[in-house]
Symmetry: C2
Subunit: 315 residues, 2 copies
Amino acid sequence: MKKKYTIGVDLGGTNIEVALVDNKGNIIKKVKVPTRVSEGPDEIINRVIILIKKIMKDVPPNKLNGVGIGAAGEIDHRRGRIWFSPNLFWENIPLVAKIKKKINLPISLENDANAAAWYMHQLGPAKGVDNLICVTLGTGVGGGIILNKKIYHGWKGKAGELGHMTLFPKGLKCNCGSYGCLERYVGAPYIVERAIKKIKKGEKTSIRDKVSGDWSKITPYLLEREARQGDKLSKEIWAETGEYLGIVLASVINLLDLEMIVICGGVSKAGEVLFDSLKDTLKKRIFGKSPGMVRVVYSRLKEDAGVIGASLLFS
Amino acid sequence: MKKKYTIGVDLGGTNIEVALVDNKGNIIKKVKVPTRVSEGPDEIINRVIILIKKIMKDVPPNKLNGVGIGAAGEIDHRRGRIWFSPNLFWENIPLVAKIKKKINLPISLENDANAAAWYMHQLGPAKGVDNLICVTLGTGVGGGIILNKKIYHGWKGKAGELGHMTLFPKGLKCNCGSYGCLERYVGAPYIVERAIKKIKKGEKTSIRDKVSGDWSKITPYLLEREARQGDKLSKEIWAETGEYLGIVLASVINLLDLEMIVICGGVSKAGEVLFDSLKDTLKKRIFGKSPGMVRVVYSRLKEDAGVIGASLLFS
């Protein structure tokens, strides 16, 4: 039987958030402290333990399902291990084992993109959808996959690396070591990079005036605002971004025949010009004659989606 | 409880094969007739029914699990419907319903690439492997996916269209209407097309003499033989084929974190030069720092793999 409360932990590169969350995803109580990455794993894990204990004081243990933790990176969900975290700079840390020594509750660790997908499936627009991918667009490009109503982890728990699927085989070198990865084109810094390239070529744009020649002031948010104001170059950048996403997502659909694509994260706020181009590309590239088309929906991740998503791991 | 026998049907564009198969995948009896596609669905389905009845005569019905049918194309496994079959030229045929009117047994219809993957998982090199893709290389490029020990169908039963994942976004037009699909580069006719292009450019090769200038005599088998004899151009073609496959399969692994890739089908007989290049490409492009590398194995599909695979659908 499911109990009434779960503790959710969002272990990010900037903040650690720990919350008491009820069965319906409501936050009852929340604590938040800076992560301070430079202090290293042991200090940070201690801080997580202290916060969990603080929250535990308010609830009888028999009303708690356990602790659900969401973290970025290469997570071995089954072994409770972080193989690699790019924002914490951790390698091979047995996080669950370390916390279990101090906390006598079931503990579940999950990649944050998977937790976001689970959130969408439990409380978001993908409720009742059996097979879906949740795409998080931001600095990085993440993917969480729900198949047959469950988070799909794969062999080693690494499934969902949408951002490192190949877009252009002979394309630009990616941080991961491969070439032409999707993230290298539609991750936030690379969207900006593409815009700067176009501006430098001399294309007419309202951006030039807005930043008075200081390219470092160009952000996805500026490109978004200018696109809404009708700036041609900004619109081109978002249309191209939608096309690039669509090319890779069409491959995903041809492979997995999903019912829904949920797009979330900061960059996805660009709106129509991004989504129209994404949907057009999907239509052109999805294989087959059977009726019915994958639904594409946008969902703004709420501020507390991280901790709530993590708490839902016991649902 | 599983019964002792199953009837397997391999519904191909050239032949219909129907066999009585035991629990261990042994063929007890087999009948085979030409499909004669031009006669249309009703005639062909009648022929299938007659063959099934013929086989049924030899077994008491209480010893039969049912009839498993494998067919190429876009198959709705749940509804027993063929949405589209490129080799039978069928569209929207409720095959299972039509057969059920005459045959009083459970009937299961499956895409042939899925049936091949299931065969690999039940009796082939993927025995005991939970998550894998089986790639069939031939005129077309197919994929069958096993996730968590079961055939993965997706939303509408269309999953596994590996051949229509995008290799080159701005590449050659594919029969499916999209551009730069993997199949458009590594399907048998296109391997030959790439070879002819290279030969016409004047590259030195033993192929030129073997076909005395008649390009229509170039086949994957000739390219395979000449590669084994050391012909540089033929070796290049296979290395390129391995690289192309590797680029798309690395994307598949980054998305699905599979444990094994099984390669089968005629074209995969090219051997080492293909596989070395495929494995190198995977190593370069698979994301992550966790130990362990997807295994790539080659499996020659036996002559009767179609009917046996179909019969295993009740396993």
